[in-house]
Symmetry: C2
Subunit: 568 residues, 2 copies
């Protein structure tokens, strides 16, 4: 069987200077990392932004995901390749650029293997992208952990700020799945080991530093945001920030080079900015703002994705990232699969490969709600993309597409996984048409699901009722008290970042389809003062994944001639 | 005052392709990391080695260091620049190349600031070299920590290998000084948090993975060595290796790109391979073997340094690294300062800037012993280099040099810190002369301080008596039992890597000069099966440094236009 890795390794990559040249960048404008990866400096992007007319932004989101996998990254890559393929016959279409998240090494060595697309819709060099890439995550981890050691060092040397060791919020991070670090005690070993306290490690993508990194517009903005991160509270309940312990400058120095977006290419040589990767639950779940802006300045189309389903990823992308940045998409692609429809129609995950037209139609409730939200709440034209799997039947596909036609929702099937950009021409056509109906300056007509001047609690309720179809939200007294405190501390105008299961529109992962009348139970709220949002925790949030019994790391190897194998 | 950083930032760097071209490398032969850093792939080096006549290797070592600092890296850089300066008038001298260690970020944010030379003898871009560089240390940390999480995961999922959680040797690492991680408990938080056990973190440079990385000759050798690392023992006292838990392939994949040596330049454009950086106490303390070999294949001279004084750094460089690699230096530079001589002559560290000829002569005992060891034990011609400080007087300098003249030891003063390569012409001349007396194939006449077929205990005794002038070694029963066990397990032929204080030839850091009749007390021994040596711990070894009360991180910042400040 030909694996993703076989396809990726047999690809002929263009030199990255050629990819950059296609975007109007001079060789000297970029910072090469090898011959097929580069960083594009922020000042180069600033210069390009000043003169360029912004490209059109296309958000790739999805119906509620299933354990079977829908292929959102693969579809994003397929769409960009499809648009560029289309432009070969219709040059007026222009150039499409990708803006994607960097993979975390946790899933690479855990369950998921690589995260750089699949089949003939991949970004390359996939083995580098999946392992270290240009070192951004290592830089983010170092910056985070520098703050942690400086804070503990401050406590060790007398604790002038009166840090309450029971109220430390910043956790150390690694970019691996490491279950044993979920709960730890640090500071043991007597006088020379610092001050003992309970602690925990997170995976780097769950850190606030990662969220800050992805929302920063410049080095100065980065430093300011880092400085605002609340590391701890004092015994008198005063917030203690990164700026208070004097770490913002050194953390910015550690992140200086990393903040420039990374440029690579798809198998079909579409330019791809792959940069940043915050968790889609505890944070906002999309690539860095600078990468998106890079795409907008340098391309005619920017295809970008947001984590999980539209209830989580698209909501945060639109309400947090686009609002922060003053950008707005011209259309939204909703990735769906017949398998996911059958799953949401009640079929067991092990049976989703068997044909079942009625289950396909039964599962439409989920897909329809996501499309309706995008259209009615955000004013975006949705284009449903069925990512074709080998087990899909033509009869099921026809039924699904005709059902959506009946609702006035554009729907296409796409075979980019098997056929690359040529397989995504229909998708590209549909996207061009949908975007053609968008206003000339989409950001001017942006519509959010909630306004920032609502009280924090009302923002959560509004999302729950408008997006999740919930009856109400339930906030324990402790949570209400914390929201009141955040408001008093001046964070009442912040957007909210809801962390809940991705498998359901409710907070119960087993409720498929489009549940109604459910209650969103909020368990905790946390301030991300640097990122500039309030994290609302509705369900169990995993900020440090574990390895499975048979981790993928066991299969990863290096051949005699230096090729990496087993990244599938 | 002009700082090191001011000098480094105002330097005009040559494009790294030009530096590579000066070594006979084609632009396509190197892997650029930005425009002034590159990695040189191992296959390119292998090709070069096959055709090239090896250059001459010059070891830069030192008298016993003092808290005032002697400038060994600065002198190494000055010497390479001096040799290349000399070659301008005498082309037959040929091309000098540096092989140095990468700085750890621990000291950068702790006490030391940068570690890329000083004054007009620096390697650049210093801010990149000091922070992340090309990501090698992050890769080493990830590889190490992957093994750690796979081991804990194995225990969590049933522990088929019967790992004794009290006998786990591998520690997780970070590349920061983090006192609070010196002693920790991991695996807390109940069933989902793994199995609780005591643990500790080390700084990445203290890891065996770092030592393995620096001694490996190829990817295949790296994988084999990684596989041999003993992570733990089972309850029945069987060794459990990286290979046993199936981590060697994935760790090698993580290190694949990192293993290629990094190429940068000095302020005067001398090529510099800066790669790897194991601690000089717990490990062998010199740059990667591949970097040294790169220099030998591509340069006429390779200037390399070994950590701490000649008793530690040079001994391990010669007895471990050179023996492993089949290489040998043509001469050894012993870096000394008048300040260090005064310190070893009994002057308090705060007074070493005051002129004191008799203290200078009094402190000679230390310098002389290091020189004698190099000459009599290893058959190397020492060249003493006085790294001139502004407070040194001509009278002191004349006294020191004339004293060494009287002993037949070549000694020069050198002003590379203030004057760059032009200030090191005398040093370069002396080195060329010393190396001229070395055999054509120095490796063929290598002399070690001990033979590998001696029993492990005798190896330690031999070093102690021959190099440290000790009366004897004292090995507790526990240590003797472990040495016996290592011998039974097949490691009896391994070299020993002694970890002791760098401040004295004895194990008592306060004993200056050249103490005699002292006893080397061995506290513990550890097997580094992957690196291929036995670590002998004679004194307190710090494998996780702490930050000082006012860490240098407080002074590090980034300006509006993106320049890093405060790295001095």
């Amino acid at each position: 069987m030909t694996t993703d890795m076989d396809i990726a390794l047999s690809a002929e990559l263009d030199p990255i200077v050629d990819i950059a040249a296609g975007l109007g960048l001079d060789a000297k404008d970029i910072i090469p990392h090898g011959w097929t990866k580069a960083k594009v400096p922020i000042d180069v992007l600033d210069r390009a932004s000043e003169t360029a007319t912004d490209g059109k932004l296309i958000l790739v989101t999805a119906m509620s995901p299933t354990p079977a996998g829908e292929g959102k990254t693969t579809t994003s890559i397929g769409l960009a390749d499809g648009l560029n393929e289309l432009a070969r016959s219709k040059p007026e279409v222009g150039k499409a650029v990708l803006a994607l998240r960097e993979p975390s090494m946790g899933p690479v060595f855990g369950m998921k293997g690589g995260a750089a697309g699949g089949g003939y819709a991949q970004v390359v060099p996939m083995e580098d992208i999946n392992l270290h890439f240009t070192g951004d995550f290592a830089a983010i981890a170092a910056a985070n952990n520098l703050a942690a050691t400086m804070l503990d060092n401050h406590i060790h040397f007398g604790n002038d700020l009166d840090v309450d060791p029971r109220r430390i919020h910043l956790r150390r991070v690694v970019d691996l799945n490491d279950r044993a670090l979920r709960g730890v005690v640090v500071g043991l070993g007597g006088l020379n080991g610092g001050v003992p306290r309970e602690d925990a490690f997170d995976i780097v993508v769950a850190s606030e530093v990662m969220a800050v990194f992805c929302l920063s517009t410049s080095l100065a903005d980065l430093k300011e945001r880092l400085g605002r991160i609340v590391l701890a509270h004092s015994r008198s309940r005063e917030p203690i920030t990164v700026a208070d312990i004097g770490a913002a400058g050194a953390m910015t120095a550690l992140l200086r080079n990393a903040l420039a977006p990374n440029l690579v290419q798809s198998l079909e040589h579409s330019p791809a900015f792959i940069h940043g990767g915050p968790f889609a639950n505890i944070a906002h779940g999309c690539n860095s703002l600078l990468a998106t802006k890079a795409g907008l300045a340098l391309g005619d189309w920017v295809v970008t994705e947001a984590g999980f389903g539209a209830d989580l990823g698209a909501e945060k992308f639109l309400d947090i990232k686009c609002r922060t940045a003053g950008i707005w998409p011209s259309a939204a692609v909703v990735v769906a699969t017949l398998r996911a429809l059958k799953y949401h129609g009640g079929v067991d995950v092990k049976d989703v490969n068997s044909p079942d037209v009625s289950a396909v139609l039964e599962g439409m409730s989920n897909l329809e709600l996501h499309c309706r939200n995008l259209r009615e709440i955000y004013g975006l034209t949705p284009v449903v993309c069925f990512n074709r799997f080998p087990t899909d039947t033509d009869e099921e596909m026809a039924a699904a597409i005709s059902h959506l036609d009946g609702l006035g929702v554009a729907a296409v099937e796409s075979t980019h996984w098997a056929d690359g950009g040529k397989g995504a021409i229909a998708l590209a056509d549909a996207v061009v048409e949908a975007a053609g109906g968008a206003p000339e300056d989409p950001a001017a007509s942006a519509k959010y699901s909630y306004e920032l001047d609502l009280p924090l609690e009302e923002k959560v309720r509004t999302i729950a009722q408008r997006i999740y179809q919930a009856k109400d939200v339930d906030l324990p007294t402790k949570v209400k008290r914390k929201l009141k405190q955040f408001t008093e501390e001046g964070y009442g105008d912040a957007p909210v970042c809801i962390a809940k299961t991705q498998y359901s529109l409710s907070t119960d992962g087993s409720l498929r389809g489009a549940p109604t009348d459910h209650i969103i139970e909020v368990k905790d709220v946390r301030l991300s003062a640097g990122a500039g949002f309030i994290v609302v925790i509705a369900g169990d949030i995993m900020t440090m994944p574990g390895l499975p019994r048979e981790p993928s790391a066991l299969k990863i190897d290096v051949t005699e001639d230096g090729n990496i194998t087993g990244l599938f």
